[in-house]
Every structure is written in C-alpha cells, then in structure tokens.
C-alpha cells in the first residue's frame, strides 16, 4: 500500500514540476516566437501582396477584435496596412480555408478601391507536387485585380480541386473581414 502511495506521489510531483517549468518557459518565449513567425512567415507574404507603400507594414500592423471564441475570449485579426503619405491605400489580411490536408493560410492584399492586389500562401500541408501547386504564380496571379467581394472566380488546378477550393475559401474569408471591418482598416 505504501509503495503505491509513493508511486503516485512521486509521479504527480514530477509531472507538476514539469508543468510549472513548461508554463514559465512558454510565457518567456511567447513574444519572441510571435515575432519570429511574423518575420519569417508573414513578412515575405505581406511584401508580395502589397506594393508602392512608403511605410513599414510589419511595424504598423494592428490587431482588431473580430468577435469572441466559445470561451468568450476576444478573437483578434492582425492586419498589415500599406500607407502612402500616412494614408492607408491597401491592407494585407490573412484568411484560412480547409484544403485537402488541413488548413491553408492565405495572405490577401485588398486595396481601398475594393480590388484584390495579390495573394500569397503563408501555410499549407497539401500533397507535394499536386496540391502544393497552389503556391505557383500561375495560380495565385489569377486573383490579381478581382473584385474584393464574395467568392473569387478563378480556374482551379486540375487534379487539385480541394486545394484550389481551400485557397478560394481562405481568400473569401479574408475578403469577408475586409468588408466587415472596413472602417477599422482604412
């Protein structure tokens, strides 16, 4: 009996100590990790979809509250504004869509005139060589200049219907945010 109690107590203590340590490390590394992801993942995408700005869209990024999750915590969206002489003329917004294997993240540039400037895939786990062709310029360039409202109409990639649709729904989501929170963005 004593052996069992000891087993439980020791294992519990070890796990508790581990949990405490990890939560402390997580808190310490949270901000640097955010920064690294923005620098290595978001920045190239933002630079691709926005052109002709004289500010730093990464530095000027802002967070807007877009609703609450099931626990009642606010859900936030990070937007990257492109400005000229202090006036925002386009923003980059990230939308998500369901691809063939998990979520596809797409950075969408939306101009003040209501046009898509360009899109860039920020994250995906589609099949290499088939679904991964959504990152090719021949596919993403089709979105340039389309009206920034509703579902975008482009030709999908043959053999990669789900992946193409995933990109379209991600773009649609981003455009939805752009329409709904227009005042906060421009």
């Amino acid at each position: 009996m004593r052996a069992i109690v000891r087993m439980v107590v020791v294992l519990t203590l070890i796990c508790a100590a581990s949990g405490l340590t990890l939560s402390a490390v997580y808190r310490l590394t949270e901000a640097p990790i955010d920064y690294q992801i923005i620098k290595f993942v978001k920045e190239p995408a933002v630079k691709k979809v926005l052109t002709g700005y004289d500010n730093d869209p990464i530095l000027d990024r802002k967070r807007i509250v877009i609703g609450t999750d099931e626990r009642g915590n606010p859900r936030e969206l990070t937007i990257f504004p492109a400005k000229k002489q202090g006036k925002t003329f386009a923003v980059a917004i990230e939308g998500r869509g369901k691809g063939f294997h998990g979520t596809i993240g797409v950075m969408v540039g939306v101009s003040k005139q209501g046009k898509i400037t360009d899109i860039a895939i920020t994250s995906h786990s589609e099949t290499p060589g088939i679904g991964s062709r959504i990152t090719e310029p021949s596919f993403t360039a089709q979105f340039q200049g389309l009206p920034a409202t509703g579902e975008p109409k482009v030709d999908g990639i043959s053999g990669a219907t789900y992946s193409s649709r995933g990109v379209m729904s991600a773009v649609e989501e981003a455009l939805g945010y752009a329409e709904k929170f227009r005042e906060e963005m421009f």
Binding site: A3, V10, I14, S18, T21, V25, T29, I33, I37, F40
Partner: protein, 204 residues
C-alpha cells in the same frame, strides 16, 4: 577524476552514437542533409541528454522502480519542449528545417537508454560527464554525416560552394537511401581503424 574523464571520452569514440551504439538512427538519417542541420539536431539532443541525465541521476533514489520509465519520459519530454520553444523563439529557420524531428527527440532511444542504463545508477557528476560525452559524440557524428552528404549531394560545405564548376551534385545523397550509404561507409571506415589498432596492439 579518472573515471569522470573516462565516462566523458567513451562517448567520443568507444561508444559513439549512432555508429557504435547504432541508436537514434531516425534523426541521424532524416536531418543530416547538411552540416548545419546535423549540428543543430546534435546540439538540441545534447542539451536534452545532459539535463535529463542530471535530473534522472538526482532523483534516482526518489523514483520508485515501478514508475521509473514514466518518470524518465516526463523529465525528457519537459526538456524537449523547452528546446522546441527556445529554438522556435531564437533559431526559427533551423526550427523549420528540423520540424517534426525536434519533438521526436523524446523517443530518441539514446536519451532514454542513457537515463536507464547509466544515470539511474550513477552520481549526478558522472551522469553529467556521460551525457556531455555521448551528446558531443552524437553531434560530431551528425555533423560529419551532414558534411559528407552536403558535399556530395549539393556540392557545398556549410552553404559555401567548394566543388569545381562542372561538378554534378548527386542528389541521391540528400535522399534517405543516400543517408544509409554514407552511414555504412563511415561505419566501415571506423571498423577498419579499430581493426588496425587491434592488430598493432597485438603485435606489440
């Protein structure tokens, strides 16, 4: 003091993983596509190995034998998550390349093997020396293997082109079968050296 040194140096040649112990082959074959990647993986593993050895050794009298494996795994997993977070926060490109193989350090048999076979029976200082030695040996192995594969597979060393202009890289060396071939050749070379040493020792 002599044994402390012995515990440290045995990991560098006599029981150098993955060649002599032939443990931890999964990360060895998967991430050594370049010297830097191999070294990054080796350093991450070394960090986990040193601290898991230290803590397992410190707690060796407290942990009941029936739950020792569970306790070791919790200790190892904690340090792996620390490595993962720190790497993500400060070495993001390397983190992207190593990807799934960072969390997989948890199930690297070298680490659990050292905890079970060495650290749970020896003092913290000796365990530290053992962890450092084995970890360094692992790092050197991965770095060497990475350099060879990078040289033949991409014609570069640490991203610097070193081969002549008409050199056609063997992309085969960057694929998993190339890793097996490179590992096999290295292992054969090591055996050859050991054999020579034994012969010389016998002749004396």
């Amino acid at each position: 003091m002599a044994s402390l040194q012995a515990e440290f140096t045995k990991g560098l040649w006599k029981t150098i993983p993955p060649f002599r112990l032939v443990l931890g082959l999964c990360p060895t074959l998967a991430v050594t596509t370049s010297g830097i990647n191999g070294m990054g993986m080796g350093i991450a593993t070394t960090f986990v190995l040193i601290f898991s050895n230290l803590f397992v050794s410190l707690l060796r009298r407290v942990i009941p034998t029936q739950v020792r494996i569970a306790s070791f795994i919790v200790i190892i997993a904690s340090f792996v998550v620390i490595v993962e977070l720190v790497m993500q926060a400060y070495f993001y490109p390397l983190f992207k390349v190593l990807g799934i193989f960072i969390p997989l350090i948890v199930v690297n048999c070298i680490i659990l093997g050292r905890a079970e076979a060495f650290a749970s029976k020896n003092t913290p200082l000796l365990s530290l020396a053992d962890g450092l030695g084995i970890g360094l040996g692992f790092t050197i192995s991965l770095f060497t293997l990475g350099l060879i594969r990078e040289l033949l597979g991409a014609g570069t060393l640490l991203d610097i082109p070193v081969m002549w202009a008409s050199f056609e890289p063997f992309t085969f060396m960057l694929k998993p079968p190339g890793a097996f071939v490179a590992l096999g050749i290295l292992l054969a070379l090591m055996n050859l050296i050991t054999q020579r040493q034994a012969q010389r020792g016998g002749g004396r």
